[in-house]
């Protein structure tokens, strides 16, 4: 090999190594600027009264308590709908189903559902829950829509969790005379539970942050009364951010409130995800099989 060629290869490698490092640095830098901006601007308006008061003076002052409450209602109800359904679906797929066309159809449906744009879920919720079932714009319609949106996440996470339970556990249960159902409910699910919960927690974060599915099914910019039943329309954190930025007449006062609301939503979503990561990490360390 000629020395000039050797140098060329070295230089080429050097340039590309710099570019690869740069690609992750740029991504991280942008994201850090993004997070710092949101937290710095929103942190200024954050206070206990911001969290616990209702909006005042046509959305230009006061707090976001109704939006926090609305998001909690939507998230809790959608998890109540989606978690049992998702876990049972995962049990079927991993414990009962035999490979073949039938299972392929189910899996394709789950994967397709996971890729449907969130606004299309919103239209579906509008056409079916709001109009056809006459649930109106309500917590019920919104959380049913969100439940379908997070179902694929829960199924996939639960199935992964169930798969990590070693077969020897099942064989031990059978050897003790347990039936298949007993093996699943007494051995497989309890063993997989922490990982199933991780999936549920991640989907909580997803449901809390989604705006498009609740635009026409649950959310309202402003309501005087706090929700008293699941048939009420509610304020919600992500929708509140959008509405503050695009509606209303006093952007000067509204934008800081939008930043404050973003920090609350961001902390909610990030802490929920962080909990999931920590649980997974600790499980991996504790696992002895």
């Amino acid at each position: 090999m000629k020395p000039s060629q050797k140098i060329k290869r070295k230089v080429n490698q050097g340039i590309w190594m710099v570019l690869l490092r740069l690609s992750i640095l740029i991504s991280l830098l942008f994201l850090i600027v993004f997070l710092v901006m949101i937290i710095a601007k929103g942190g200024k308006v954050l206070s206990l009264s911001f969290l616990l008061q209702s909006p005042k003076d046509g959305m230009t002052a006061g707090g976001i308590f109704p939006a926090i409450l609305g998001t909690l209602y939507l998230v809790i109800l959608s998890i109540i709908f989606a978690l049992p359904l998702g876990v049972f679906a995962a049990i079927y797929l991993s414990e009962y189903a035999k490979a073949g066309h039938f299972v392929n159809i189910i899996r394709t449906a789950i994967n397709t559902l996971a890729g449907v744009p969130s606004i299309v879920f919103g239209l579906f919720g509008l056409a079916v829950f709001v109009n056809m079932f006459q649930f109106g714009v309500s917590v019920l319609s919104g959380s049913l829509t969100l439940a379908i949106l997070i179902l694929p996440i829960i199924i996939n996470a639960s199935e992964e969790a169930i798969k990590t339970v070693p077969d020897s556990f099942r064989q031990a249960a059978y050897a003790l005379g347990a039936t298949k159902r007993q093996t699943i409910t007494k051995v497989v699910i309890p063993t997989a539970l922490p990982n199933i919960l991780t999936g549920a927690i991640i989907s909580v974060g997803r449901a809390a942050g989604e705006t498009a599915p609740i635009l026409f099914t649950a959310a309202t910019f402003y309501t005087r009364k706090l929700p008293t039943s699941i048939m009420d329309e509610v304020m919600a954190l992500p929708y509140h951010i959008y509405a503050l930025m695009t509606e209303g007449t006093a952007p000067k006062q509204q934008v800081p409130i939008a930043y404050g609301t973003s920090v609350v939503l961001l902390l909610l979503v990030l802490s929920v995800n962080l909990i999931a990561i920590v649980i997974r990490y600790r499980m991996r360390k504790r696992k002895k099989w």
Binding site: T112, L151, G209
Partner: protein, 291 residues
Amino acid sequence: MKFKESAFKYIALFAALCSVIFLFGIIVSIFKEGYPIFKIYGVIKFLFTTSWHPTHDEPTFGIAALIIGSFVVTIGSLIVAIPLGVGSAIFLSEIAGFKTRELLKPFVELLAGIPSVIYGLFGMAFLAPFVMRLFNLSTGLNAFTTSIILGIMVVPIIASISEDAISSIPKELREASYALGANKWETIYKVILPAAKSGIIASIILGFGRAIGETMLVLMVAGGSAIIPKTIFSPVRPMTAAIAAEMGETVVGSEHYHALFGIAIVLFILTFASNLITESVKRKVMREHNL
């Protein structure tokens, strides 16, 4: 006992079938509500004319400009996200040490969970004014600003799936390449990337699906004008933004209402197709690795 056993099994079967039922329900409902616009207005006219004036006295429902708007911001975002995402993935799996990787991977996962409405707020309140001043434009809410933020949002998706694809390449391939005298970059470029090609393509298609279906961010940042953009700095109105912005004002059962569901059909078909491609690529990857 026996009854309980089979009841349990059938409950599980029903739960699994629910996904099929819901998907079917989504397809039926958007086609049922969207079909009338094809009948009234004609499929060709709906898809290929550019005049979108749904609230005029003589309304027109041509969505070509909306489709172009969607593609402009999606392709723009991929131009940002592919080099950053794939580059980050290569860095994480081939260059970073164990500790850096263990630290950055959860961070990337965490970022993938940030709600898009917060990206939208950032775009509207911070990046758009910045872009406006930098390029001396009349508005910063345009396809360019949208592409950048949307791209940043898609980076974690492309990075995490590409990283999985690259790390699953057997060590022997790398060792063989080094044994032949290749240096690190030559190994990455000539051995790793070709071997991980399918997985990387899958990640890009998934990123495409996510970007074209994204609603809140484009609704807030893209500017909202339903005309074919002249430059990358023109405001656009992607399909998702049109649905989100206009559905609240339509009367159930009106032509406009049906037209918005018609847009949802187009969106659904696009994301469904990109999903099927991702699936088949993934299956191909699995076959390749079983060799």
